[in-house]
């Protein structure tokens, strides 16, 4: 074989081995994606919790029930394995940076409603090796459960304990499931996502909607005219562990 022929043959083989050229492949022509019409949008979603209203109804768990039902959050009796998106805890656990023996007495037995703070600078996002958790443009610290490998770095990084790990298959522990939302599987971390799936449909988060005492206010923190901005300008509020610099977007109205 001549050198020239060999080179021709090599070139031809390379083309064949490289597969059919793209333009010969019959693919679908137009593929477009658009955001859903009628979705609620904001520059930075946030929540204010009027904790005084909460204390007037210590038995009320409407927000927790609504959230956990809608998102298929299992009720696992064992504390170490429990999954929680929104829950209640006492002052000294929620605000350990405010040691004050008198406050501890004053606030004894007064529960605080806790959930993911959707931080401005979320440490969980920084440590996630697969970008399964990421920050959306509207401030929601989002999770892509498809990508979570269950390494639990985010749980170690989150200073608020807002993340839960599925130690067991959660499905048997879900009594009445919501067929519109998936469950999670064993080996995946989960948390509150500010009801991104409801915002897409133009609905406010389930906990806010479920609260009949109007203790939860949800809105755009960067919109001066939103209800939440007005409330936060007029009343004294605190945030959990604000000194860590993560910039929580959940505010507790105490004044």
């Amino acid at each position: 074989m001549k050198r020239r022929d060999l080179l021709k043959l090599a070139g031809l083989s390379a083309v064949v081995a490289g597969g059919v050229p793209g333009f010969l492949n019959k693919e679908v022509k137009a593929r477009e994606y658009t955001p859903p019409p009628g979705a609620l949008t904001a520059k930075r979603w946030g929540m204010a919790i009027d904790i005084r209203k909460c204390w007037e109804h210590p038995e009320c768990r409407d927000c927790i029930k609504a959230c956990h039902h809608i998102h298929n959050v299992p009720e696992i009796p064992e504390k170490k394995k429990e999954i929680k998106w929104i829950w209640k805890d006492e002052f000294e656990h929620a605000f350990p940076d405010q040691p004050n023996e008198f406050n501890d007495v004053l606030l004894q037995g007064k529960p605080f409603l806790l959930l993911c703070n959707h931080c401005e600078h979320p440490p969980c996002v920084r440590v996630c090796p697969t970008e399964a958790t990421f920050k959306r443009e509207d401030g929601i610290v989002m999770m892509d459960y498809h990508r979570c490998i269950g390494c639990r770095f985010c749980m170690a990084a989150c200073p608020f304990g807002a993340r839960s790990f599925n130690w067991v298959d959660p499905r048997p522990y879900i009594r009445e499931f919501n067929p519109e939302f998936p469950t999670r599987m064993k080996g995946v971390v989960e948390k509150c996502l500010f009801c991104y799936e409801r915002l897409e449909k133009g609905q406010i988060p389930a906990c806010v909607e479920a609260c009949k005492h109007k203790a939860l206010i949800f809105g755009d923190l960067e919109d001066e005219n939103s209800e939440i901005s007005r409330v936060l300008r007029s009343r004294f509020s605190i945030r959990r562990k604000a000194e860590l610099g993560t910039g929580p977007s959940v505010f507790y109205l105490i004044g």
Partner: protein
């Protein structure tokens, strides 16, 4: 050759055994799967969906979850809500009569349903005891894996 009377039958048995799948299935053909198709049209043509549905689903989950693009504009300009439970399965009412038929035939096990709930699901089954625990007869309460039935009592 030493031990001819043992070695040769041994080789024959080995070859027969190794070729078991070939001669066992010889001449038989498994009928191709017939998934139950709903009326109406899918987001793209049948041929395209048959060949590319997995790529499309993969793109869809990234678009919807990571980029917030919930609406798909198909090649003929129609708009569809992206979602497995709230999109695909609104027409394909039964996973076992649609997805499973081909997937079983092709022996592929996509893990979509570890989290997504098939439309025909009525309830989830109670937790299973591990085989090892059953073997040694260890009661569930000693492992700290108490089921939710026990929980209901208190």
């Amino acid at each position: 050759m030493y031990n001819r009377d043992k070695v040769i039958p041994g080789i024959i048995i080995f070859v027969l055994f190794a070729a078991f799948p070939i001669w066992w299935g010889h001449g038989k053909s498994v009928p191709p799967p017939k998934p139950e198709l709903p009326k109406g049209k899918c987001v793209e043509s049948k041929e395209y969906m048959r060949a590319h549905h997995m790529q499309l689903l993969n793109i869809w989950r990234n678009k919807a979850i990571r980029e917030g693009m919930r609406v798909y504009v198909s090649s003929d300009g129609s708009r569809y809500w992206i979602g497995l439970q709230n999109g695909c399965m609104k027409c394909h009412h039964d996973k076992s009569k649609f997805c499973d038929r081909c997937h079983t035939y092709a022996a592929v096990k996509p893990y979509c349903w570890n989290c997504h709930i098939p439309p025909e699901t009525k309830e989830f089954k109670p937790p299973k005891r591990s085989a090892l625990l059953k073997l040694f007869g260890i009661p569930e309460r000693l492992t700290g894996n108490s089921s939710h039935h026990e929980y209901e009592e208190h």
